[in-house]
Every structure is written in C-alpha cells, then in structure tokens.
C-alpha cells in the first residue's frame, strides 16, 4: 500500500458534514451549530442526489479514497455513513484497498460510535485532539479533556487499523520544551500518522477578533520558526517525518486522500461548501457547492446538485494550483507535468536562484522539491515559482 510513488494521482470523494456541537474560536471551516436535531434522512437523500450528479460527470473512475470531513462527521449516525458509502459503491468502482476516513472528535460519546463506523465501512479515523493539556484545550474551545482524548485514541486504535490525530502548535505562550514533551507523548500513542498544524489566525474567527483587539498573543515568526524546527527534528527522529507541510507519517502510512489533492488529482466534493476538481472533455473544472447547510438542501432538492460554481480552469490557473498543492509535499513536483498543465515551463532563472538560496532542490529523478530550509517560507517560494 505504498501510496507514494504511484504515478497516477487518483480519484477521491470528499463528503462534508457541516455541523458541530460548538464553534471553535480558531476555525474558519464551513461549520455550523444547530440547537434542533439535524434531519439526517433528508441530508442523506441530498447526498445521494449529489453523488449521482458527480458520478454522471466522472464515468469509469476508480475511487481511491473517501473522506468524511467537517464540521464534525462523527456526529452522523453510523447508518447514515454506511448509506453514503453504499451509494458511492453503487456509482463507482472502488479500489480494493481504498482508504475510507472519517474525522472524529475524541470525546467519550463519539468513541462509542467507532465500532458502528467500522461496521459501516470506515477504515481510518482522524481525531481532532489539538492539544494534550487541559488548559490549552479549553483555550482552543475544545469540548474534550486530554484524558478523554487519549482514551478515544485508544478506542480508535482497537477498532481501526489506521488512525491519525491532529495537534496544534504555536499556541499562545507555548514553549519549545513544553511542545517537545507533548509531541513525544503524541508520537507514543500515534501508530502511523500525525497532523501537526501551526495555529494561524484566520479571517472572521473569534481568534482574529481577539488578536486584533490585542487580547490574544501568538508566538512571533521567530518563535514559530523555532517550534517548527522542533517539530521537524523530533518527528523525523521518531520515524514520522513530514511528507507534507503539516503531515507526518511512517513511510507508507500517508493519507491517500490528501495525496489526491496535493498531487492535483481528481476529486468530487459533495455536501455544503465542498470543493471538487473534475476532468471533463472540456478540461479541468473547479466545483464548489452552496455553503449554508439548509440552503444547500434546498438547492440540491430543486436542482439535483448543490453546485454554485462550476468553472473551467485556464492553463495558468491549473499551473498555479498544481504548484500550490504539489510543492507542499516532500516528494515535490514533476516539472514536466507542470509544463503540461500550465502550458509553459517554470522560469529557469527563478529556479536557479531558489536552488542557489538552498530553498529548493532537484531530485535524482528530476523532480523539483522544497528543502528543509524552504518549507518554513513555502508561500514565498510558491509565489516566486508561479510568477
């Protein structure tokens, strides 16, 4: 199951469940809190309609991965999840070792459903642990405690062969030593995969308001860089090196779903505020759906799909997206594929200059990849190569 090294970037399906029990103050994802119970049957029926619509656009594809993201998809009943997977199986051929991931909150309540998800066809969970100490969890607005999260991780380990969990670093006041200790604790419990995100202040979030009001202090770029270095060294030493900017895995245990994105493969996105990239006879198209959950329902029920954007991508746009995604991976990009997508070659002068600065390098097979020095300033590297 070596996902890496596969020449075909593959085809994946993303299913967005837009509800959460509460909104985390750092989160800018399409998530919504509802007081009344959500009508899962109605949503299921809309998901089925959207899947049928996308299936008609992608005949003959083999599904490499399905990903339930959110929101909090672990708020869905296992039966709903199972029905969605059945629908997918009905429309497409699914690869025998397809990765089927569900994001879950590591609470005791949700852990009780893990068995049901396993039975429904989920074979990998990704747990939003975020921190392993209670004060920080509280500050991040999480509803679970550290102990509860670790218990959920243990339950996940019993039910799923593959699981991952997320941690956030560069939290207010976080020191390098505290992060090291936390990271060791995480790796002790993580079998194969960890997502380690730097806390970023996103627009239109509670954290942004606090930050702008001077009530939230996050580490400055220098300190963030120190924490980044700690992360790279420690995970590599413990056998989970970064294969993407924020994702670490034992070799072979990379998330195949996210690799579809980063390798600029094809993916269909269903549900409110989901995104897709589909190859059609007219070229690559960018899809996105209505973000608001109930509005999405109405649109799907009326039109048979929830798409609000369905745009052809120009060569330049495809080249930009390919660089944005591909350079996030340690494996880097194939310059020939960039040329095929963008209709131009990468500016040799810029490449040479970045190589001279030690920020990118060429692999023995001719791939272009970002170096250890380059990753912390990747956005600038991408802007340089894309220009």
């Amino acid at each position: 199951m070596t996902a890496l090294g596969s020449p075909d970037p593959g085809f994946g399906i993303y299913v967005h469940w837009p509800f959460c029990l509460s909104k985390c103050p750092y989160c800018d994802f399409n998530s919504h809190v509802r007081q009344a119970p959500v009508d899962e049957a109605r949503f299921l029926s809309a998901f089925r309609q959207e899947l049928a619509h996308r299936a008609a656009l992608t005949p003959g594809r083999r599904v490499r991965s399905v990903f339930f993201g959110g929101g909090t998809p672990s708020l869905m009943r296992p039966a709903t999840v199972g029905s969605i997977l059945d629908a997918i199986g009905g429309h497409w051929e699914v690869e025998a070792d397809a990765e089927v991931t569900l994001e879950a909150n590591p609470t005791s309540v949700e852990a009780t459903r893990f068995q049901g998800y396993r039975a429904a066809g989920i074979n990998r969970v990704s747990l939003g642990v975020q921190a392993l100490n209670d004060p920080d969890l509280k500050a991040l607005g999480r509803l679970h405690s550290a102990d509860e999260a670790l218990a959920a991780v243990a339950i996940a380990a019993r039910h799923f062969e593959r699981f991952s969990f997320d941690l956030m670093y560069a939290r207010p006041g976080q020191t390098a030593n505290a992060w090291k200790a936390e990271l060791h604790g995480a790796i002790d419990r993580a079998a194969e995969h960890l997502s380690l995100y730097q806390l970023t202040i996103e627009p239109d979030t509670m954290f942004e308001r606090l930050y702008k009001a001077g009530k939230l202090a996050v580490p400055d770029p220098e300190q963030a860089r120190v924490l980044w270095e700690v992360t790279q060294e420690l995970t590599a030493a413990r056998g989970l090196p970064a294969y993407e900017v924020s994702n670490h895995a034992r070799p072979g245990a990379e998330s195949r779903h996210n690799l579809v994105y980063w390798r600029y493969g094809e993916y269909a996105g269903v549900g409110p505020g989901a995104h897709g990239r589909i190859l059609t006879p007219d070229g690559r198209r960018a899809h996105s759906t209505e973000r608001h959950p109930e509005m999405w329902l109405t649109v799907v029920e009326g039109e048979g799909h929830g798409l609000v954007a369905d745009e052809g991508l120009s060569s330049e746009e495809q080249g930009d997206e390919f660089l944005l995604m591909g350079l996030r991976l340690a494996e880097g990009i194939d310059p020939a594929r960039f040329a095929a997508l963008a209709g131009r070659t990468i500016d040799g002068t810029r490449v040479a200059s970045l190589i001279g600065d030690g920020l990118v390098e060429r692999s023995s097979t001719g791939r272009l990849r970002v170096t250890r020095e380059g990753f912390p300033v990747l956005d600038m590297v991408v802007a340089d190569l894309a220009a």
């Binding site: 993201g69 730097q198 806390l199 970023t200 770029p221 994105y261 996105s288 802007a383 894309a386």
Partner: protein, 632 residues
C-alpha cells in the same frame, strides 16, 4: 484616451477656449475695424491664490454682457480641470470686454489672465508686456502675500500703472483700512483710491471698470509702421492647429497677411484672425494696441515661442521686441510607467502634451530599477506636478517620478563643462574640478509665530538670510537658498511648519560652486540608480539615514537578510537591515479548497508584476514612490 480639460481640445472652429465651446456659436465676422488707441485698455490682474482673481474676471465678463448670464460658468478663464481645482492659471488667456463708460464713450478692455506662479515667471513677464496696467487684487482680510509681492513688482518692472482693488470687503473679517496701509507700506503704492469690492456678491464691479478706464493708460503704437506684434502664448488645437495669442504693437494684421516669426525665422500666412469674447470671434483685422488670436497653418507649438516677435514677411520691422528667452527647464526628474507595457503609451502621451507645452522637455532614459522611461525637464516643481498629473489624468497612465533634480554645472579638469540633468550620468569624481548648483532668492511671508521654525528650516537647507522685516504682524524673510534643497520637499515642510499660513516665492539668481557629492543607495549591495542623488556633503548623512530608514519599512521581507545602505563613493554613511523572513507557510491546505489559495496567489503574482527586480531583491513600486517623497 481622454483629453478632457485640455484647452486645445475644448476649442472647436468658431468655439472658444473656455468650456462654453460645448455649444459653439456660428462664426460671425462683424465689421470690426481697428480700434482707436485712446479707447483701448489692456490690463492684467495680479493676485494671490484665493484672493479672488478668477471670480473678479467672471464678474467683469458678466457685467459687460460679454457672456449671457445663462452661459456663465465659474472661473471662465481657467479651462483646464487642474486650473480650476488648484485655483491657478497655467496658460495665458484673454477676453475682450466692450464697455460703455460713464463718460459715454465705448471702450475695448482686454483682460489678460496671466499664469500666477513663479514656475511660469517668463510667461508671466510676456503677458505683462502685452498690457499697460494691472489690477492688484488683495483680500481685504488676508492682506499682501509673498506671491502678490513678486507679481506686483514684475508688473511695476513692466511699466504698469496699478489699480489696487480690495476684495472680499463684505466679509466680517475685512479690514480695508489696515490692508490699504499695508499696500502702501509694503509695496509703496498709493492705495487711497483703492476700489473696494466683493467679487463674490458683485459689489462695485462698476467701480473697477471705471477705474480701468480712468486710471490705466491707453496703449501707444503706430498703425502705419511695419507690423510688430508680441507672441504672448500659443496652444495646440485639434481642429485649428496652433492658435497664437498676439498683441499688436505697430502696424496691423489681417487674414491673408504674410508674416514671419523673428526668433524662429518661420514664415506663415494668416488664415484666421479674431478676438476672444471669450468665444473665438473673427475680426477683419487687428491694429496697434489690440489683443487677439491668429491661426496660420502652424503645426507645432514649438515653432511659436512665447516672447517672439511677429512681423511682416515683406516689410519686416527693423527691431524685434526685447526680452525673448527660450524656455529653460530648471528641474528634472525621471518619469516611468508603473507597468512597463505602458511605455509606448507614455511616449505618445508626452508627445501629445508637448504639442501644448513647449516648455516641457523629455528624452528617453533607461533605469536598471525602473526600466524604460523619460528624463523630463520642467520650469519648476509646480510645472512638474502639473505635467505628471495631466499625464496620469488625461492619458490614464500610472507613473513613478524619481527624485527631482536641478541642473548642475560640472566643470571638468580638462577645462570643459557639462550640464548634469541626471545624477546617474555624473562623471567620475576624479575628472571633476568643481560642481556648481543653482541658487535662488526666496521670499517668505509668515505670521510671526512660525518664524522660528521657518528660520530653522532655511538654515537646515543651507540658506543664507539676507533680509528680515515686518509687515504688520507678519515677518517677511529673504533668503538665498540652493535650489536643490528647495526641490526636495521644502514646500511641504514650510506648509506644515506654518500650518499653511506662510507664502513662498523664489527666482533663480546664479550658480555657485558647492561641496556636492553623489549619494547612492545600495539594496543588498546593489546600487539602485533611481534613488541616487546629488547632495551637499554636510547634508548627506542625514539624507542617507532618512532614506535607508524609510526603505527598511517599504521593502518587504525576503527569504534572506537585506542590507540597505547609503554610500558616497565607497564609504557607507548609513545602514539598515531588513531581517530575513522566518515563517511564511500556510499550515492547512485541506478539504480540496485550493481556489481561495489560488486567488491569493494571483494577487501576489499581480503584486510581483509591480515590483522591480533589483539583484535578488524585489522592490515594490510603492517603495520608490514613498522613498522619493520622503520628508526629512
């Protein structure tokens, strides 16, 4: 490409320079014969900005019935948008007013509206030479300003009779007695019979007209002598070609007259002759003392130099009028398109603009930092600003202007001398004997309370005080200053120190040798030519420090550390460092939503297009613009 507001384009055949031309009247040719000299008065108006010159002109036009009330617009004689907005006059304009005076006689009053700024001092002097008298308009509460002084002295030099007019007499703050006294004290004019008016309300406009008739002398001239006419101004009109504003001294001109310009030596046949009322109105001929326009199939305004003498081709006058001077740019700067792709448009726009403004010069220049552009010469800073603004506004171009530089005379060791317009062209210092820079005499009028700050400003700018006197509660300062210290944000500093109350005027006096050095700015050890400048050695460190300090905040962080240095020769006089960018990576790119990231990237790419690559450093254009506009 819009030429709105350009006087040339506003003219239509039979139309007028003023915006009234939008509804052109049929061109009629009344049997106007040459006027009797005794019934002509040619006058200009001398006033400080905002003291009411344009409003008074409007009232005179209205009161004499020259334009029907319904056709009146504000500031009739200022036809360019820039003129209206800034309250200044750039091109000379004229209007012929027919007035029946209290004595029962009909008079022809030619109002010559002159440019009111020192940048156009020569143009002003030629306009004044076309008149015998001036109205001195002074705000009855504000009093005499520095600019008023300079202009009124010029009018006196031109031999004018002066009629003082106290305007805004209706305002509660008006103090006519005090201002009358001030005019007598400061200018030495008898102001006892000053006409008190309110141009705004139209109060006593009749009094002004009567004073013009009674106090100003009629022109002199000989109708039988060979033609001698002053070329007062000229401009390009898309329909008519070059239109020439003339004042006849001797002889006469009519349609079909064969003429020649004495300085440029060109020959033409007059195909159209008329006066401004203010619409262009054809007349049969123009005789001594009259002011009007001609067209003569002239293609280029550069062939019609302000101050030139027009005479009869077959029977030329023996002596040209005195005082002809070719336009001499004193301030230079580089103008570059923000988007390199606009270079050809810029070239075309400059060509169009020069059709109307022969005093502005340009030649191609290339800068490592800014790409291809033009080195342009101007009559002064206001002229520079006006040209830049017109290029941006009328031709829709985004421009970067480099630091204004004066013309330096460089004496070389081999005995030759060169004029240096661009610091980038400075010869090797080893070859230089000395560098001479232009000096000015500046007059500053300021309320007493700001005097200290202004004295310090002038001292800091290497000024030498030559006079300090008081006009009521205001100080009048005379300073000798190097022009290169003035072109560099002196106005802005003066305005901020005096909260806008000080007025300022200058003229170039001479060139003096100075201890001038070329200061270079190095970004990441690469010299940035657009930022190099000639400065006095004593001022170099301060200027260098201010420059690197500013650039430090204007250049974005890069992936490496960037030293920014100011240097004279090999010696670093100031240094700052931009630290390397340490962390700039999107942590989460997930859920397949790459559209949002792509849009951010597109913005970044567009921004990069507006940057100039300097070695390995990309400098945003905003940085050049801001750095060059620095305040010391």
């Amino acid at each position: 490409m819009s030429m709105d507001g350009c006087p040339g384009d506003a003219i239509e055949a039979g139309g007028t320079r003023a915006p009234l031309g939008k509804t052109p009247l049929p061109c009629y040719a009344p049997r106007m014969t040459a006027q009797k000299l005794d019934n002509i008065r040619n006058f200009s108006i001398v006033a400080h900005i905002d003291h009411g010159k344009s409003t008074l002109a409007d009232r005179l036009i209205q009161h004499t019935g020259t334009v029907a009330l319904r056709d009146m617009s504000e500031q009739m004689l200022d036809s360019m948008d820039i003129e209206r907005e800034r309250g200044i006059t750039i091109k000379a304009q004229t209007v012929r007013l027919d007035y029946v005076a209290a004595d029962g006689k009909s008079y022809v009053l030619n109002l010559m509206d002159t440019p009111g700024h020192v940048d156009f001092a020569y143009e002003v002097s030629r306009s004044l030479a076309a008149c015998e008298g001036s109205l001195l308009v002074v705000d009855a509460s504000q009093g005499v300003e520095a600019q008023t002084l300079a202009n009124v002295y010029q009018a006196l030099d031109a031999g004018h009779e002066i009629v003082p007019v106290l305007n805004k007499i209706d305002l509660p703050a008006a103090e006519p007695e005090r201002i009358r006294q001030q005019i007598e004290d400061v200018i030495g004019l008898d102001a006892s019979e000053a006409v008190e008016i309110s141009a705004k309300t139209g109060l006593n406009i009749e009094g002004v007209l009567e004073a013009i008739v009674a106090k100003l002398p009629p022109p002199k001239g000989d109708a039988e002598a060979p033609l001698k006419a002053l070329l007062v101004d000229s401009w390009y009109d898309a329909y008519l070609g070059v239109v020439v504003l003339v004042r006849i001294i001797d002889g006469s001109m009519k349609k079909g007259s064969r003429i020649q310009t004495m300085a440029t030596g060109a020959h033409y046949e007059v195909d159209r002759i008329g006066v401004f009322k203010p619409k262009m109105t054809n007349v049969a001929s123009l005789g001594p003392g009259e002011v009007g326009f001609i067209t003569a199939q002239i293609k280029d305004v550069a062939d019609t130099r302000v101050g030139d003498t027009i005479t009869d081709e077959r029977k030329p006058t023996a002596q040209a009028l005195p005082g002809f001077k070719p336009a001499q740019p004193v301030v230079f700067c580089g103008l570059f398109p923000v988007d390199a792709a606009d270079f050809d448009d810029l070239r075309a726009a400059m060509g169009r603009l020069r059709l109307n403004d022969a005093s502005f010069s340009f030649e191609m220049e290339s800068s490592a930092a800014l790409g291809f552009g033009f080195r342009c010469g101007f009559l002064g800073l206001l002229h520079l600003e006006i040209v830049q603004e017109r290029l941006e506004r009328e031709f829709n171009l985004d421009l970067i202007a480099t630091a204004p530089s004066v013309v330096y005379e460089i004496a070389l060791r081999d005995g030759t001398a060169i004029d240096l317009h661009n610091p980038a062209d400075m010869p090797d210092v080893m070859k230089i004997e000395e560098i001479r820079e232009p000096w000015i005499q500046a007059k500053i009028l300021t309320p007493d309370e700001y005097l200290g700050g202004i004295l310090k400003l002038c001292q800091d700018r290497r000024g030498v005080q030559t006079d300090l006197s008081y006009v009521g509660s205001r100080a009048m300062l005379t300073y000798e200053l190097p022009l290169n210290e003035v072109v560099f944000d002196f106005y802005d500093r003066l305005k901020s120190i005096s909260k806008g109350y000080a007025s300022f005027d200058y003229h170039i006096t001479d060139y003096k040798a100075g201890d001038l050095v070329k200061m270079q700015v190095l970004v990441n050890a690469e010299p940035v030519d657009a930022l190099s400048m000639l400065v006095h050695r004593d001022r170099a460190e301060m200027r260098g420090r201010a420059m690197v300090d500013k650039l430090k905040d204007l250049i974005p962080q890069h992936m490496f550390q960037i030293p920014i240095q100011a240097a004279i020769g090999g010696k670093i006089i100031a240094r700052e460092t931009i630290r390397a960018l340490r962390k700039d990576v999107t942590a989460k790119c997930y859920g397949g939503d790459v559209s949002r990231k792509r849009k951010l990237l597109e913005k970044q790419k567009a921004g990069k297009k507006k940057m100039r690559q300097f070695g390995k450093v990309e400098i945003p254009q905003a940085a050049f613009i801001a750095a060059l506009k620095m305040d010391a």
